[in-house]
């Protein structure tokens, strides 16, 4: 059944053989070709509408060819391409802010969420305030953040941290609450103290939800960061997008947008990979098709 290397031991199929099997199976299905077709449709339509036919408002939009040429241009017309150091500086500024915010939000949010889920007393005294502040959209905090915090960086980082914190804390709490009550009971039977239950059962048990929360938190962080940068900031991809509009450098707008998308996606994927690494047991469980 498996192509490539033979089984490595009785009943076990090597990972490489599995990969080759799935890969060849995928190539035989219509899926990858349809995906390519989808890509082509999208870019083709964009190209035709904006550069070839110059249809209606599409005429003012830069087309994919323009954007790509500019992006890969060693000597870009508007000063921003893969070859200019400024480009990477903007990316780094945004990335740095997200990293700091994410670290703080995770460091505060995970313990906070764990306690919220674990202790009824803590929850009843703390959750109301949390829930009352949550409906206020993070971006509504922008002016207040500028007033509260001196400097240019701190308000932006504060806003991003706030958004991430909500997502992380909430998902962590849900994670604790989703743990099958048999587990802490079993641990109690086996003689574990409350803290041991927390350490051995609650924390690992909530980990899947925590990592889902972290992925959401990264996405939310980018969302808030770009917005905050557009409103009040210097440097950064959000700022780049905004200023290139103001300075009528339209292809750079799209370069900025695409870059944000890529970096945002990569950071989410990294978090997911980290989660998979930390939760080997779950990966194996899911791979065997036994969901529990």
């Amino acid at each position: 059944m498996a192509e490539g290397k033979p089984a490595t031991s009785a009943g076990e199929i090597g990972a490489w053989a599995m990969f080759m099997y799935r890969y060849s199976k995928a190539l035989r299905s219509p899926t990858p070709y349809l995906m390519l077709a989808g890509f082509a449709l999208f870019f083709g339509a964009w190209f035709l509408l904006s550069e070839v036919f110059r249809f209606w408002r599409f005429a003012s939009l830069p087309g994919p060819r323009q954007v790509l040429i500019e992006w890969f241009n060693p000597n870009p017309v508007y000063g921003m391409s893969l070859y200019t150091p400024d480009y990477y500086m903007h990316i780094w500024m945004s990335l740095r802010r997200v990293l700091i915010a994410f670290a703080i939000a995770t460091g505060l949010g995970v313990p906070f969420g764990l306690f919220l889920g674990w202790s009824k007393v803590y929850r009843e005294f703390t959750f109301p305030v949390f829930e009352t502040l949550r409906p206020i959209p993070v971006l509504a905090w922008v002016p207040l953040a500028i007033v509260m915090f001196r400097g240019d960086e701190t308000p932006v980082i504060f806003l991003t941290t706030l958004a991430s914190f909500y997502a992380t804390a909430l998902n962590t709490m849900l994670g604790v609450q989703s743990i099958d009550p048999s587990f802490p009971r079993a641990a109690a039977c086996l003689g574990a103290s409350k803290w041991q239950i927390f350490r051995h059962i609650i924390v690992p048990g909530a980990l899947p939800f925590i990592f889902t929360g972290l992925q959401i938190s990264v996405g939310v962080a980018w969302f808030s960061l770009v917005a905050a940068e557009m409103v009040s900031g210097e440097y950064g991809l959000g700022y780049l997008i905004n200023s290139s509009y103001v300075n009528v450098q339209y292809p750079v707008i799209l370069i900025g947008m695409i870059s944000v998308g890529i970096v945002g996606y990569a950071s989410s994927a990294l978090v997911r990979l980290a989660g998979d690494y930390m939760m080997q047991w779950r990966v194996r469980e899911l791979a065997l098709g036994e969901g529990r």
């Binding site: 219509p30 899926t31 349809l34 995906m35 077709a37 989808g38 890509f39 449709l41 999208f42 408002r57 599409f58 003012s60 939009l61 009843e124 005294f125 703390t126 959750f127 109301p128 305030v129 009352t132 502040l133 409906p135 206020i136 959209p137 993070v138 971006l139 509504a140 905090w141 922008v142 002016p143 207040l144 500028i146 007033v147 509260m148 915090f149 996405g219 980018w222 969302f223 770009v226 917005a227 557009m230 409103v231 959000g238 997008i241 905004n242 290139s244 509009y245 103001v246 339209y250 707008i253 799209l254 900025g256 947008m257 695409i258 944000v260 998308g261 890529i262 945002g264 996606y265 989410s268």
Partner: protein, 278 residues
Amino acid sequence: MSAVVATAPQPRPRAAQSIWHHHLVRAVISIAVFLVLWELGARFKLPWVGQVPPPTVVFNTWLPLLQDPGYWYSWVQSSRRVLSGFIAAMIIGIPFGLAMATSRMFHDISFPVFEILRPIPPLAWVPAAIIFWPTQELSIGFVIFLGAIFTIMLNVIGGARSIDVRFFQAARSMGSSNWDIFRRIILPGVLPSIVVGCEVGIGITWNVVVAAEMISGGGGAIQSSAGGGLGFFIWNSYIGFSYPQIVVGMISIGIAGYISSAIIRKLGQTITPWARTR
């Protein structure tokens, strides 16, 4: 039905718990403590908190505003934007999502584009939207639309996928046609996920609306005198150094956002009464 004790000796009432154990009392206490700390922190000029107007001042600023029609008009404008953008997202997103979930071919064609566009934060689209759309309202509407649609679509797809395959099998064995299956199995099965998607989506929508309104007031991408709305109100207060009004605005938006989420939840419960199992 269950062996409810009727005539047996009165069961011991819940062990008389002290009033401090009741969750509502605790909620009130925690919020009160929060307000007190805020007040003290603001008055004593603690770092950060010291810059924020204390709750008493905020409240006093708020009272006269309640009688100002301009204030309520801001509510109307923001709500209008949220509503129209959100409804547009639902009208397009739900059918699209259903199509992606039911037709393998449709899914394969649209999925890559969907996944590429999704990571781009909605607000990054603002300048591109302004270039493209003839009016500012349309551009803001477009951005709002984008903000909500990805969430809604994701939830629709997830919801359709999680419908137990045995429902389909049962329906087929009872002779249902494809259309029947769509109407009676898929649609109701997806409804709870749509509701969840809308609850999350509305939060994103408010974020986008507020940001767009602030940007319109703050210069940068959008320049115009039209605009208004609660986000604009906040930004304007900031520019005009009326800091207590900033907080008033924030709380107002929070309330508006909460009300809209609650409305969606209520609607969701009416549409999907079965989803409310313990």
